[in-house]
């Protein structure tokens, strides 16, 4: 889909943001209209007001991935209601009513596609039953048109609003007993919808975690050690308190478990630090500047990115610690290969860099804790907070507030525990806000990694040998969070002689999932090395990729099945879209192709770059062919996610690295941790192939192949192979 396709549906977009054009107050007016406490909700998700306005609950946290709009679309479709009559309300964290509520793994679509359509269907069946009872007929005599039940024999109608009250006496049917709509009849699913909160976004209404205000609220800042989990030796609390507006300054000893440098522990609880609480955030910051904190030494203060790289090289020179996969005989196959390639790849730690720094508001009163958190993962936050503060989880309420970007950072809840602790110590509602520098120094970083490859191709251009020794972080067989690799990592199972080995080094840096975790790094190394083999074989890279996928529809068994035919489909499509092999490019320009399967989605991408002799890279265009199944639920949101993911991947590859020196992060702000700017953003053309598979998610899978598409294009343009990220001009200078 391109902009042109969307333009054809412009009316639809307009309709969804306000009847008859642009009504900036749309959501507020409608919310008031839909308020009616006299009518019992039909279920945990659906409430119909007498005037026919329908309130639908959005169960999951919204961080920009569009679920607050998309999930209610599923319910509204089967409920059979006009989208203009829908009011969306954000749920609180409530696992008893809504099950798991989280934003991660691009899982909202696959987990809810069936379930939430059935929620809508149940509500519709209840309204039909209420009408049938009123008309003294069977439900089979009734049908619906949006917002109304129709008595088929007579053509009589009753609005949903007029039936809502009577639904209190209707027993909900078994969801499994209901027949869902034929997708050909959809009115809402598959039609572009604007984000529900679009009016609030463009007018600057309070919406995000940072915007939360409570009566009597104070503002907090919290300083932690630059060396992760180091404890406070001393701090000048009195100096901080002498600053006008500062109410409190105190040391937080923190949770000893949060301080153990083993994988999975560090950074997951309350880290030690010093809190300053004031009448305003600026006063708290000024107080903090006076703290003069001395930190105790910590065992991790010697670690550095440079040492990790040296250690990885030394490990790779010896025997791997563990063999994850060993098919055929790699060594014999390499000897018999027509061409062999050896290469070492590396990628750095990355920060999530949510534009809204971590924050949380907490209020502790009469033994109960109320939390307003821009979290992607509220329930583990509630449990962690309960454990750390020693209070009953049932005494904690978590309101899920829109997050200014998620990208996996807000799956951790460190800011929530800190805010709760500080609020209890303070005895007043407190908004904790991290500085940008805090945010960059205390992330759960995408782990760095190192891959040492050997590969071979035969004279016919088949990959005959593939050997990857992956040097990563962890202890023994326990990987640091997001630092692992599947033993089925592609092209395993497609190459007859394949050995995957893993060695680990200990790490005292918190790590965690960054958008498309694992995949965002593995796609770069795997797809680049495949491209190296294609060039070694003298083959066209796209044809080589298609050939490597073989001729079977799928390889392997669920949950690790790989849809080879689906990947061949997107590769062929992206070749056609991009004019692959048909475009004559000037000197210094090139096109690269890559594909990757992650988060249940199949993506193939082509990048077109221009490289200058000074080593500057300009991405001119990216083409994306995607297969995420039979239905794109909200085409407008889907396109935005894919375009954003691609640019996010390019931004990582072109600019980003977090480096560790003396145990601490060297970068501190967007001045030394760069994000892509508008002048660097190429056009991204996207095509969704519809296939007979259940729909899957789009928050992540478009990102991974963007990086190797770029680096493979750079090779085509310059003959320089990028084996380490980020790309620097030095790597490309002629």
């Amino acid at each position: 889909m391109t902009y042109h396709d969307l333009k054809a549906n412009r009316r639809e977009i307009l309709t969804s943001v306000g009847a008859g054009g642009l009504t900036l107050a749309f959501s507020i007016a409608s919310k008031a209209e839909a308020q009616d406490d006299t009518v019992k909700p039909l279920n945990a998700y659906v409430r119909v007001a007498p005037n026919g306005k329908v309130t639908i609950t959005a169960k999951n946290p919204e961080v920009g991935q569009g679920v607050k709009t998309m999930l209610p679309m599923l319910i509204a479709e089967e409920l059979d209601v006009a989208w203009e009559d829908v009011v969306i309300e954000q749920a609180d964290s409530d696992p008893k009513a809504y099950g798991r509520q989280f934003a991660g793994g691009s899982m909202a679509t696959p987990l809810h596609w069936e379930e939430l359509r059935r929620v809508g269907a149940v509500a519709r069946a209840m309204l039909i039953q209420a009408a049938a009872t009123a008309w003294n007929c069977g439900p089979g005599d009734c049908a619906t048109v949006p917002g109304n039940v129709v008595h088929k024999p007579s053509g009589k109608k009753r609005t949903y609003g007029s039936l809502a009250m009577a639904c209190a006496n209707v027993t909900p049917p078994d969801p499994k007993s209901l027949t869902l709509k034929d997708p050909k009849t959809y009115n809402i699913i598959g039609k572009p919808k604007a984000q529900y909160d679009v009016a609030k976004i463009v007018t600057g209404e309070p919406l995000f975690g940072i915007d939360v205000r409570r009566p009597g609220m104070l503002y907090a800042t919290y300083e932690k050690a630059p060396v992760f989990a180091a404890t406070v030796a001393s701090a000048d609390l009195e100096a901080a308190k002498s600053v006008k507006g500062v109410r409190k300054a105190f040391v937080v000893e923190g949770d000893p478990k949060a301080m153990s440098p083993g994988p999975g522990n560090i950074g997951q609880g309350l880290m030690p630090g010093v809190a300053v609480v004031a009448d305003s955030w600026w006063a708290a910051r000024k107080g903090r500047d006076k703290l003069n904190i001395k930190w105790n030494d910590h065992p991790t203060s010697k670690q550095s990115s440079k040492l990790f790289a040296e250690q990885a090289k030394a490990i790779a020179a010896g025997k791997a610690q563990r063999t994850a996969r060993n098919d055929g005989d790699v060594d014999a196959a390499l000897k018999a290969s027509a061409k062999t390639v050896e290469a070492a790849y590396a990628y750095p730690f990355l920060s999530h860099a949510n534009l809204e720094p971590q924050n949380c508001t907490a209020e502790f009163k009469d033994g109960k804790l109320e939390i307003w958190a821009p979290t992607q993962n509220p329930e583990p936050g509630r449990q962690l907070t309960a454990k750390t503060l020693g209070i009953n989880p049932d005494d904690i309420t978590v309101h899920m507030i829109r997050g200014g970007g998620g990208f996996g950072r807000r799956l951790a809840n460190d800011y929530m525990v800190e805010a709760a602790w500080i609020a209890r110590e303070t005895g007043a509602p407190v908004k904790l806000l991290w500085t940008r520098e805090d945010d960059m120094a205390h992330d759960h970083y995408r782990p760095a990694g190192f891959h040492f490859f050997r590969g071979g191709v035969d004279a016919a251009g088949n990959v005959t040998a593939w050997h990857d020794h992956f040097v990563t972080f962890g202890e023994g067989t326990t990987m640091a969070p997001s630092a692992g690799m599947s033993a089925a990592e592609y092209p395993a199972r497609f190459v007859p002689n394949c050995r995957l080995e893993v060695s680990t080094m200990p790490l005292g840096v918190p790590t965690g999932p960054l958008r498309a975790p694992g995949s965002n790094a593995l796609a770069f190394v795997m797809q680049s090395f495949i491209d190296e083999l294609a060039h070694a074989a003298g083959a066209d890279p796209l044809a080589f990729q298609i050939k490597l996928l073989g001729d079977k529809p799928t390889v392997g068994e669920p949950p690790a099945a790989y849809g080879a035919a689906r990947m061949r489909g997107v590769l062929q499509a992206v070749g056609e879209m991009s004019g692959w092999g048909k475009t004559k490019l000037p000197m210094g320009e090139g096109m690269g192709v890559a594909c990757y399967y992650s988060h249940l989605g199949y993506f193939a991408e082509v990048a077109h770059v221009a490289c200058s002799p000074e080593g500057a890279v300009k991405v001119k265009k990216v083409w994306v062919a995607a297969d995420v199944g039979s239905q794109i639920i909200n085409p407008h949101g889907a396109l935005n996610q894919v375009q954003g993911s691609v640019l996010d991947g390019l931004s990582e590859a072109l600019h980003q690295a977090i480096t560790i020196e003396a145990g601490r992060v060297e970068q501190s702000n967007f001045t030394d941790y760069r994000l892509m700017r508008i002048s660097e953003a190429p056009a991204v053309e996207v095509k969704f192939l519809k296939t007979d598979f259940p729909p899957t998610g789009l928050g992540e899978p478009a990102l991974p192949p963007a990086i190797p598409a770029l680096t493979n294009a750079i090779f085509a343009a310059t003959g320089k192979r990028i084996r380490s990220l980020p790309i620097t001009p030095d790597m490309l200078k002629a």
């Binding site: 900036l24 920009g64 600026w282 809204e356 200014g404 700017r677 508008i678």
Partner: protein, 154 residues
């Protein structure tokens, strides 16, 4: 001390230290929370406001330096002849993903169009390069600016 300011055409007063950045006066003292904090060093543009019509980073402006200058924030754009067009284009194209940067984007785009009603791509790049969108909605930001200026979008 108390500072008298003009925000979105209204006289307001803020009793704060003179070195407090305008950003925090707007957000925490006056309640205009549409202006966002992103970096504190004028590197991201999330806090962009207009000072006498010029786009400025509110995180870098001590309140004592504002004087009689007129401050406009995102909350005032519905009453701004260009700002309301920009907001409409942003809505019609549903530019945002997370939405956090978009107030700053709209403020920069409004200042651009007020001065340059039909900007070229290069002029858009120059005026908007100071505004980071972490979700990278740049394709739509560009299209929305074109739309608001009555130009072809792609």
């Amino acid at each position: 001390m108390a500072y008298s300011l003009t925000v979105n055409g209204k006289a307001v007063s803020a009793d704060v230290d003179g070195d407090t950045p305008l950003l925090w006066v707007l957000r925490d003292t006056l309640g205009f929370v549409g202006t966002k904090y992103g970096c504190g060093v004028a590197a991201c543009g999330a806090c962009t406001v207009h000072i006498d019509g010029q786009p400025m980073r509110a995180c870098q402006i001590p309140v004592e330096s504002v004087g009689a200058a007129k401050i406009s924030t995102i909350e005032g754009m519905a009453a701004h002849p260009v700002g309301k067009k920009v907001q409409a284009a942003w809505m019609e194209l549903d530019v945002a993903q997370c939405g956090y940067c978009q107030a700053g984007q709209i403020m920069s785009a409004t200042a651009l169009l007020a001065k340059t009603p039909k900007p070229t791509d290069a002029q858009i790049d120059e005026a908007m390069n100071g505004n980071i969108c972490r979700c990278a909605t740049y394709v739509r930001i560009r299209a929305a600016i074109k739309r608001a200026s009555g130009q072809k979008e792609v």
